[in-house]
């Protein structure tokens, strides 16, 4: 697109630089500027109207089609007035759309005629001066010129007639254009409706999706809760097994160190409170319930403190809950 634009610009610049083309180009340029101004003025109020941007594109596409259509028609009818006609056609559309514009159009046309007449008059004066010099031929030539003038006038009338005919055609074309526009408007409305329906549909779908999602979330939450409960249950079971395991290990270790004193009997019970570091190292061991026999208490303390490292669970939670602090009940079986 940009490439195309650049090409056009380059061509334009070349054309401008060519001295032969300067005058017509200046005229054409002036015309174009005028059109653009008019167009921009025309387009301005519409700018506020559109809510959606999408329909603009649609319109643009339609305009393009019509341009192509117009071009082909113009070619068929008159090749030489192609550019002019294009401008005229555009102008005619403008005129038909708004009547104030038509006046301006006519004024310009008359100006054009005046200019053409002035050029003709000058040429006539030159010719009269020449005729004076050449009297014999002058009369003939004057007659000729008069004929030519008549012809010119007839030509102009024909031209006028042609213009009117053109105007009629343009009017017809504008009508067609109008119809097309209306058709496009309908299409646009239809598209809008469709768009709105689509959006509604989308909204509906979205709502459905939201609902589905919410349900899924609810389901997920329930599942999570169930998993949490199951995890908690598993946790309790795990903890219980860990406690049992390490209780057994500690019992085994202590019993391997305990030497029952000679005075021990099955009625004796010494209760020790054991505090451990998470490493299993002994923090503190103290008698919380004495057997009443100092040697028996001593044997229990000695056993408890002789264990270099207590087997404790790696799980800190299990440790904290059960083995950070616990009791050892020393009592001989028999």
């Amino acid at each position: 697109m940009k490439q195309l634009f650049d090409e056009l610009l380059a061509k334009l610049q070349q054309t401008i630089r060519d001295p032969v083309n300067r005058l017509p180009i200046a005229g054409s340029l002036a015309l174009h500027v005028g059109f653009v101004l008019i167009l921009s003025f025309k387009w301005e109020p519409e700018k506020n109207a559109p809510v959606f941007t999408v329909p603009e594109f649609i319109q643009a596409r339609v305009v393009d089609n019509s341009v192509i259509e117009d071009l082909s028609k113009a070619r068929q009818e008159k090749e030489r007035l192609a550019k002019q006609k294009e401008a005229d056609k555009t102008r005619a559309i403008e005129e038909k759309k708004r009547k104030q514009e038509e006046a301006a159009q006519k004024k310009r046309e008359t100006e054009q005629k005046k200019q053409a007449e002035e050029v003709a008059r000058k040429a006539e004066a030159d010719k009269k001066a020449l005729a004076l010099k050449k009297q014999q031929e002058k009369a003939l030539e004057e007659e000729k010129k008069r004929k030519e003038q008549e012809q010119q006038k007839a030509k102009e009338v024909a031209q006028q007639k042609e213009l009117e005919k053109q105007k009629e055609q343009e009017k017809q074309k504008a009508l067609e254009k109008q119809k097309e526009l209306e058709k496009k408007e309908i299409e646009k409305q239809k598209a809008l409706r469709e768009e709105r329906e689509r959006q509604l549909e989308q909204q509906l779908r979205r709502a459905e999706e939201d609902e589905a999602r919410r349900q899924q979330e609810r389901k997920n939450a329930l599942e999570a809760q169930r998993i949490a409960q199951e995890t908690a249950r598993a946790r309790v079971a795990y903890e219980e097994s860990e406690v049992a395991r390490y209780t057994g290990l500690i019992k085994e270790r202590i019993e391997s160190k305990w030497r029952k004193p000679a005075s021990a009997n099955s009625q004796m019970v010494t209760m020790l409170l054991i505090r451990l570091f998470p490493t299993g190292d002994l923090d503190r061991a103290e008698v919380v319930e004495s057997s009443g026999n100092a040697a028996f208490d001593l044997s229990a303390l000695n056993a408890a403190t002789s264990v270099a490292k207590y087997p404790v669970p790696q799980d800190r939670e299990v440790f904290e809950k059960n083995f950070r602090q616990f009791r050892l009940a020393f009592s001989p079986k028999n």
Binding site: W258, P278, A295, K321
Partner: protein
């Protein structure tokens, strides 16, 4: 401190989880603190290190106190004494202690001490301290000021204190034993001798020397007198002799048997076997009044009386059932009741230190062994295994007993603990050794 801080941080993190969990499972969290039941122990001896006592004087010491203590503890069967060569240090003062050194070599208890000789007093100051290695705690200690002759006594007393502190049972290392030896003199005549020695068999003294049999030696409860049977007059008679002064007197010399003297716990009576009325029966002699009371009256043999520690019962041997069995009765001979039923031969019972248990000679598979019987439960336990074991005598703490047995050709004395952990022979003196009697506590 850094480690400690980290620990606390982790605790805080987990404590939230803990809190949540405890809310979820509050009935579980409410469970009482974990209590681990410890009911079994190990039977291996308690490892104790007795460090050589430092000599704080210039002259060498006449006794190896460390060795005496170490041997005492080792012999009890309840301790194993660490060899000096395995010690990583030889501390004698508290400030020199490195408990780690003793943990490394697996010791539970540690004994240190020193001895200082005072020339001025001609006495030895013996100091010892007992430590719990695991707890790194001082347990007990004492200082003694003694003569050279008392050094062994002090060593035994230290053993007693260590033993009692750790086992809760009074030690018997400072007690004594009496026994009889038989050898042949130059002319091939029997040479009977009555001896008294330390419980470890050392420092034996002879109290009586005769060519006629001596038997049934019994310590008086005061630990200062011995009763025994001597045939020195050609017939058995019962004598009571002062251990220290050797002064003695005949307390019973009736026609027939005068044997098996047994002291009542208060020391005022002797139960004994007499056959003056035609048959071996048990009598009770009052040492104060000389009054004699017949306790049994049966045509069978009744002999070997022995008083219960509370003085309320007397056990004795009777073959009234057809063979020797153990019976008991009240101190006046009332309520005679048979106690042993297992085997054809059960004799010479002694109370083990409590009313509920007796030790005696039991025949089984042609062997004579020392057995114990729980009177309450009837449970019998064989304590010795050699073929001809006899004359058991309980140590005053009721933990072990001394008895006579054969080793090769000779009779020797052996000691066994009731739990079977200790078993050792006493160093044998010349000839046959028999009729041991374990003294009561001597201090």
């Amino acid at each position: 401190m850094g480690v400690c801080g980290e620990g606390i941080g982790k605790v805080k993190k987990t404590s939230l989880v803990l809190l949540l969990l405890s809310i979820l499972f509050w009935p579980l969290a409410g469970v009482a603190q974990l209590t681990i039941e410890i009911s079994e122990g190990v039977d291996n001896p308690i490892p104790v290190a007795v460090v050589p006592f430092a000599n704080r004087s210039v002259t060498p010491l006449p006794e190896d106190v460390r060795q005496i203590i170490s041997d005492d503890l080792q012999r009890s069967g309840e301790f194993s004494s660490l060899d000096v060569s395995r010690m990583l240090g030889l501390p004698s003062r508290r400030e020199e202690l490195q408990f780690r050194d003793w943990r490394i070599v697996g010791q539970s208890y540690l004994v240190i001490g020193d001895i200082e000789y005072s020339q001025l007093e001609n006495k030895y100051a013996v100091r010892y301290e007992l430590y719990d290695v695991a707890q790194e705690k001082f347990l007990t200690g004492q200082k003694y000021n003694v003569t050279v002759e008392q050094l062994r006594d002090v060593a035994h007393q230290i053993s007693d204190r260590i033993y009692e502190t750790i086992t809760g049972v009074r030690g018997i290392f400072a007690t004594r034993i009496a026994y009889v030896t038989l050898s042949r003199d130059d002319k091939g005549r029997d040479d009977y001798r009555l001896h008294v020695a330390d419980a470890d068999g050392r420092r034996a003294q002879t109290l009586l020397k005769t060519s006629e049999p001596i038997l049934s030696v019994a310590w008086a409860p005061d630990g200062r007198r011995l009763a025994y049977v001597s045939f020195e007059s050609g017939r058995p008679a019962i004598y009571v002799q002062q251990v220290d002064t050797a002064a003695r007197k005949v307390v019973s010399a009736h026609k027939g048997l005068n044997s098996a003297p047994a002291w009542s716990p208060d020391g005022r009576y002797l139960a004994m076997t007499l056959s003056k009325d035609g048959n071996a029966d048990i009598y009770r002699l009052s040492l104060d009044t000389g009054e004699l009371k017949r306790l049994t009256n049966h045509y069978a043999i009744d002999t070997e009386p022995s008083w219960s520690p509370d003085g309320k019962s007397i056990v004795f041997t009777s073959d009234r059932s057809g063979g020797p069995q153990i019976y008991w009765m009240g101190p006046d001979g009332e309520r005679q009741e048979r106690l042993t039923f297992d085997g054809k031969y059960n004799a010479r019972a002694r109370f083990s230190g409590e009313r509920s248990q007796i030790i005696y000679v039991h025949q089984q598979n042609g062997q004579f062994n020392i057995a114990s019987l729980n009177i309450g439960t009837g449970e019998q336990k064989i304590l010795t295994q050699t073929p001809l074991d006899e004359s058991p005598s309980m140590a005053p703490n009721g933990r072990m007993l001394i008895y006579a047995t054969r080793r090769g050709k000779n009779g020797v004395l052996a000691v066994v603990s009731l739990d079977g952990r200790a078993k050792y022979f006493l160093p044998s003196s010349q000839g046959d050794v028999r009729e041991p009697s374990w003294s009561p506590y001597t201090y």
